[in-house]
């Protein structure tokens, strides 16, 4: 049997007023913990750098990225990308034990860097990797962590204001970590826009060799089975998305959404209840606990527009809502709306689009 577990963590006392303890006053700068799997940087890290840049500028501090891995060539390439996405500084941790993501090693490295260089804000992607790491780093540092933020701001007092949907279907809440550092937050992929890349921009690198003894690490990665391409719905990156909700009334009617998507060369998806009913698979769910999308055009048929759905689609350039209820909340954030029965309008739309595309093709 293993050793008796022990409870740890700092002796914390939270307050609702900002009374930042003296030893936290040295904490400065905004950091993004960069996510790397198999040599490539996850795009959520670039999105976070874009957001981190704004926060850093507002605070008048630097923006740093933390990269960790095994191969120096891959790490250098990642650092170069981070600079082009506006990092001023990269902390580069290199060690053979960091070849694959493991909680033990990653948590150890990130915690060490935070304790040494003291950032005031630390951002991570709300991916499986980011959530795995953020939860354990926040606990080790005994600081606050806000998950799945949809908006990050600096308030008048210079604190991080992290906004996320809260339980109940229609509310947002703004969360602060006033008296602990760093202030930590995770953000899902595609929630923040992809920032512009500044070719040739560079910055400083601070190296760290953690000298991890592999024999001390209990968990070993035996294998990695990559998903087949067909398993990856490209929903988050699609230019056009057509989605349906409970207003479609039946699984059969969901076919109308797929038909329109096909004519438009679009991806399709739906609201969460459709996953629960088994009309669509979980990887097609759009919203807070599903995929966040940023298409040029989003067509929502029979979806009410609950906050958990809204936060997943608000980045779309043009939202068209089809709903029988003129008071449906979706009309508050859609750009175009029509009060109509989706079950009859969708096939008509599919045909009208098909006709126009055909006529245009004949004419050209």
């Amino acid at each position: 049997m293993a050793q008796q577990p022990q409870a740890g963590g700092g002796n914390s006392r939270a307050g609702t007023k900002k009374e930042l303890p003296e030893h936290f006053k040295a904490y400065k700068h905004v950091w993004v913990a960069v996510e790397m799997e198999h040599g490539a940087v996850h795009s959520v890290s670039f999105e976070l750098l874009g957001e981190g840049r704004k926060l850093a500028d507002k605070r008048g501090v630097e923006l740093a990225a933390v990269v960790m891995g095994e191969s120096r060539a891959e790490l250098d390439a990642a650092a170069a990308q981070c600079f082009e996405y506006s990092a001023d500084l990269v902390y580069l941790a290199q060690d053979p034990a960091l070849a694959h993501y493991r909680n033990e090693t990653a948590c150890q490295v990130l915690t060490h860097l935070v304790n040494t260089y003291k950032p005031e804000i630390l951002l991570l992607g709300a991916t499986n990797l980011g959530r795995d790491l953020a939860g354990s780093v926040a606990t080790t540092l005994a600081t606050g962590l806000t998950a799945d933020c949809t908006e990050l701001e600096i308030d008048e007092e210079g604190s991080l204001a992290a906004t996320r949907p809260t339980f109940g279907g229609s509310l947002l809440c703004t969360i602060f970590t006033l008296n602990f550092r760093p202030q930590m937050a995770t953000v899902r992929p595609r929630v923040m826009p992809m920032p512009a890349r500044q070719e040739g921009r560079s910055g400083r690198i601070i190296e760290y060799s953690p000298a991890i003894n592999e024999a001390d690490i209990i968990t070993k990665v035996l294998d990695f089975i990559a998903d087949r391409d067909s398993d990856k719905a490209s929903l988050p990156y699609a230019d056009i998305v057509v989605a349906g909700g409970l207003g479609l009334r039946s699984a059969e009617n969901f076919q109308l959404v797929k038909n329109l998507a096909e004519v438009l060369g679009a991806e399709y998806g739906g609201s969460r209840p459709l996953v629960q009913k088994g009309w669509i698979t979980a990887d097609r769910q759009i919203g807070q606990t599903g995929k966040t999308i940023r298409p040029k055009l989003y067509i929502a048929a029979g979806i009410s527009g609950a906050i958990q759905h809204r936060v997943g689609v608000e980045g779309a350039d043009l939202i068209l809502a089809i709903n029988t209820d003129p008071k449906a909340p979706i009309f508050e954030f859609a750009h175009l709306g029509i009060v109509a029965d989706a079950v009859t309008l969708l096939p008509a739309l599919t045909e009208a689009f098909a006709n126009r595309l055909r006529i245009n093709r004949l004419a050209s």
């Binding site: 049997m1 008796q4 022990q6 963590g9 799997e37 795995d132 606050g144 947002l172 968990t219 060369g265």
Partner: protein
Amino acid sequence: MNQPLHSVVCIKQVPDSAQIRVHPVTNTIMRQGVPTIINPYDLFALEEALRLRDRFGGKVTVLCMGPMTAEDSLRKALTFGADRAVLLSDRYFAGSDTLATSYALSMALLQIAREFGAPDIIFTGKQTIDGDTAQVGPGIAKRLGYNQLTYISKIRDLDPDGGALVVERRAEGGTQVLQTKLPVLITMLEGSNEMRRGSIETALAAARAQVTIWNAAAVGIEDLTRCGLRGSPTIVKKVFAPGARSEKAAMIGAEATPEASAHAVIDAIFGRMPAIEAQLFETAAQAAY
């Protein structure tokens, strides 16, 4: 490990989200009368623990922190076949964020270790449907120094005697196969199994069972400032309804027929966004050749 396998499953009682209502004027959540359920994600964790017990023997303890009414959820877990249930309940826990929650739960887990034997595997769900943070599991693992295994879709092998364990973990873009050692904390991925129905025997046993109820003092918490609101570094300062966009949706009038409406919709889309029109025509033209 020579004693039988001991798993503890952390379950949370949550409002049934399908039935939650928000007060139209005050925007506050109306909890009265909202039925509660076991957090759906936690059932995958419970089922996995029960399967391990079926294979290797041992005991499954369920642990819940919540108000006294959360005893219902624990009893429900007993009807599925859990062996014992612990309710951690104290008004000092009210308002806990994830750091304070993982502190209280880890103290209860230490008390479970003292009274019933140290857990070999602590299970949690992937996340809750109300807090929705996925932070409490990792928090407990760190505090107790357990190996942390999140988003586990399958337990491939377990050697209860040697303590070796091989699991499949949902990672970005693929599945990691990990080998590790007990004790571990596992957060179980949804869809990884299907909850069994309880039997008559388990239902009878559940009806007779005593739920162990502990307050902060009973699990050895001396410093109450680490609990509840005071022990929570995060502060919710503002709860608000999202505003409408400054410019409301331009409404397209429905025409006499769906066909006419469809054309009006397409004109509106193309009018707003000529780029989409051009892109569609281009892809259609390409597809034609």
